[in-house]
Amino acid sequence: MAEVVDIRARVLAANEQAAAKLRDQFRAGAALVLNLISSPGSGKTTLLEATVRALGGRLRLAGIEGDIATERDADRLRALGIPAVQILTGGACHLDARQVRKVMDEAHFPAFDVLFIENVGNLICPTSYDLGEDFKVALLSVAEGDDKPFKYPAIFARAAVTVITKADLLPHVTFDLDAVRGQVAALNPGGRLLVTSAKTGEGIATWCALIEERLATKREAEA
């Protein structure tokens, strides 16, 4: 006769436990951790390069790069002198907390103030996996179209910060910035939205100030 086993647990319980351990570890290290999520090519690594150039002298930065294949993105960060580890997912469309824990256990990062985790280029799947970050950052480049927040609501509803990238291309594309602001505000009333261009430097100072401010807030809360 068939038997029934009652379980009643989160499907992602294993991931959530690993994320909780990471969060404790990051808190103990007084480090701020960001999980960057966007579709492929929105400019995650380029924004990080600009961030390292702007903040690298003041803060100790580190990077974890998630990709299906190649070490290219980690190489780009290492070329700027920060420690970076590449996670190759071999086909999976997102990072999970167990992979990040493995890196934290094995990579022996020097102490850092801010860790950037660049997720696999994908606007959907990474949203469900907590990596122990302080907050998620959604990136949307102006070339992708101004209807994307409503079409991919999960990430824009959950990201504390939305970064519009490649603003230098605005004159060349049809992208209604106010419409996007309205969509993000409706999905995520408490969220911040920044407009940036890694190419011209627009908005990079504001972005960096936000990171420094969140780091200070986290450290004050712990003190």
């Binding site: 038997e3 989160r10 499907v11 469309c93 997102h94 469900s128 509803a157």
Partner: protein
């Protein structure tokens, strides 16, 4: 398409739960999926089929218990339905931000399995 990874998590957890009750074959696994969990039930069931194909649990089914989104407006003191096709978190009546009170579920509820040594009904065994 992360339904496959989710199906793998469900499978791993189901197997682990059954292992605590002796060996056996999965018959049916029931999960709760909320409207705001960003999981498509049909894709999840399809992923389950693909995952169990050719293994000891081939033919087992994944049941999805669907939970609609619930959003509460403090100002109106009322549950506000999610307008179709949007994830709007603003009250359709007063425009204030809504609190999400349901629809985020992604839970493994229970697993039905057939312990080894029992071949299902129809083979002459006494199920009573």
């Amino acid at each position: 398409m992360h339904e496959l990874s989710i199906a793998e998590e469900i499978y791993r957890a189901s197997r682990a739960a059954v292992a605590g009750h002796g060996a056996g074959r999965l018959e049916c696994v029931t999960v709760a999926v909320g409207e705001l969990a960003a999981i498509e039930p049909d894709l999840l069931k399809f992923a389950w089929q693909a995952l169990t194909e050719g293994g000891p649990d081939v033919g087992s089914t994944l049941e999805v218990e669907w939970h609609a989104a619930h959003q509460f407006c403090v100002a109106c003191d009322a549950d506000k339905p999610r307008s179709d096709g949007t994830w709007l978190r603003l009250c359709p009546d007063c425009g204030r931000p809504l609190n999400v009170t349901g629809g985020m579920e992604l839970d493994l509820l229970h697993v039905t399995f057939l312990p080894d040594g029992h071949e299902g009904a129809g083979e002459g065994s006494d199920d009573g």
